[in-house]
Amino acid sequence: MKLQTLMRAMLTASAVGLALPAFADTELKIYISSQHQPQVWRKVLDQYETKTPGTKVTIETGGNTSEAQAQYLNTIMSAKDASLDVLILDVIRPAQFATAGWTTAFTDKDMSVYLPAYAEANTVDGKVVALPAFADSMFLYYRKDLLDKYGVTPPKTWAELKAAAKKITEGEGNPDLQGLSFQGKAIEGAVCTFLLPYWSQGKTLVSNGKLDFDREAAEKSLALWKSFVDEGISKKNIAEVATDDTRKEFQAGNVVFAVNWSYAWAQSQGQESAVAGKVGVERLPAVEGGEQATCLGGWEFGVSAYSKSQEEAKKLVEYLSSKDVSKFMAINGSLLPTYADLYNDADVTKAAPWFADARQVVETAKPRPVTPRYNEVSEVIRTTVNAVLAGVTTPEDGAAQIESRLRRILR
């Protein structure tokens, strides 16, 4: 009897002990991609913790590419794992996550405060499924000092870029200096690699949910990238280059022109950079006679449908998506704001002068096709780009393969 009483007392005590901190504190876990400055987000979260007593937020990072992160989250979410409350999602994924029932919708959220592209990307069937974390698009980074030295202006077309790169690399005579670095590895960035010159020819990939493919334009796009390799402007193993490789090589001073996202700016101006103060950022060039086109990027915060703290998680996301945080991240992490007027904010342009011109770029950037089967679309394009750059497939065959495989996915 005594033993039973004792046991009962112990059980009650441990139950109370376990339950009490749950009443006092909310512990939230947020998943943030490792390449998007989790250490800067940490500062934002510290501010949130002091503002909201009793809330503790921990960061989990993982995977260094968008697909690696998606694979990880796919595993977690299809197992209905409740360990993550808030997820950062690449702009192409909210549609997929909402269709799978993995995120919960925000009610009564006014999306008109954000740039239209992000209001659109986060609304699926009239429901707000995620809130924007930061905006992004691809830009042309260039070595201002080298362009000035050879009297070259930032190129407006890919042909001009080719000529400029040749002139500078030949003049420098440094075998380690590459003319152009872009993403040729079979990663998400390679999808944009393909789309840049394709879009620049005025073509679209998907319209009204149906494939609207122009094989000739696709072939031209693939052939353009291949020509950079063949003519020695890009390095021979460009098929192995991922986004962060481009960033590192540019930062080390080994690249004249680079195609990259906005995040590369902060690090190119950092202490470890060999090119601090020598970097210019411009719109990406166009194909001859085409329009300048770029790829819409950006990341969003969604609340996991399996989170046990729905309300608290949503409150946190509202905060992280607020104007103040957007400004903080623009200044400290060079992540583009999702609010239009922040692009001309004095504090922001002081940290990154080119942000003033970036708003127009983001506003005209084209979104990649929105479909729940985006992962398959992406895989087809990026492996083909990779195969063409490695010289395994000709641009002609590559374009035909993309068309026939996309037709099967988007039928």
Binding site: S78, T99, N237, E240, G391
Partner: protein, 314 residues
Amino acid sequence: MAVLSISATDSAKDSERPSPVWTRWLDLSDRAMAVLLLLPAAVLLALIIVYPIGRLVYTSFFNLSLTSGLPAEFVGLENYRIMLDDPVFWETTWNTVLITLITVPGALLLGLGLALLANLPFAMQWPVRLSLLIPWALPLSFAGLIFAWFFHYEYGVVNDVLNRLGFEGIIWFNSPNWAFAAICLTIIWKTSSFMALIILAGLQTIPRSLYEAADVDGAGRLRQFFEITLPLLKPAIVVALIFRTITALQTFDIPYMMTGGGPGSSTATLAMYIHQNTVSFLDLGYGSALAVVMFILSMGVTAIYLRIIRTKEA
């Protein structure tokens, strides 16, 4: 065990007295007892092997994709029909078969050589045997990462050696053939130590007296190897081959870490394609159908090996 036998004889001796309730189950017949004792193992196996495989086959008849947001729909053999028209399925299956055909014999030859070396009578045997263990003990994905660095175009040690020898470095992962070669070399390195371990165990069961007798009869080293060593090693070799072939058919980690299947999908294996369809595309129906094919492939190969062993024994 002691308690069991004592109470069993007790109940046999004084059968007129009813046994206490808690030992009544011991009065069962031998057959019932055997079933009872095997039951836990059978339930466990059913739970962790039979149920998942059954579920896999069941799912393969459905159109079940988490990205569609639609409930599973029975489609019969549709997933298998799609597979026949799927060029990537054929390409990855062919790659898998090719990897198996190259790396299994390769690992066997290298493993045999290593085992013979390790079996030589020299003073410090343990460091040699320990170093045999290391590749085997290394996780597959680590081996893949390490070798991806070895074969890297700019920073890799392989190209450095080639350069020093006066050759031009190879962009290993830019060409299907070189990438394939790099993957096969890595797999052979990684798996030959497992082969060597099993063969070494086999070598140590061969009585020394056989070699002494052969010496007396005037048989040379080479003759001894082919007449004594190899025939007596056959059982060990077949066992090693079964294990190695099945794991070769399931090759995933090393190509996944080294090339991710590239360039294009020229070095992707069937296991990688299954992973891509289930984990990346969330197409569980098609992924299951692919996994069923791989299961049948593994079972087929195992059946062939078992038949070989049986005819050898007969």
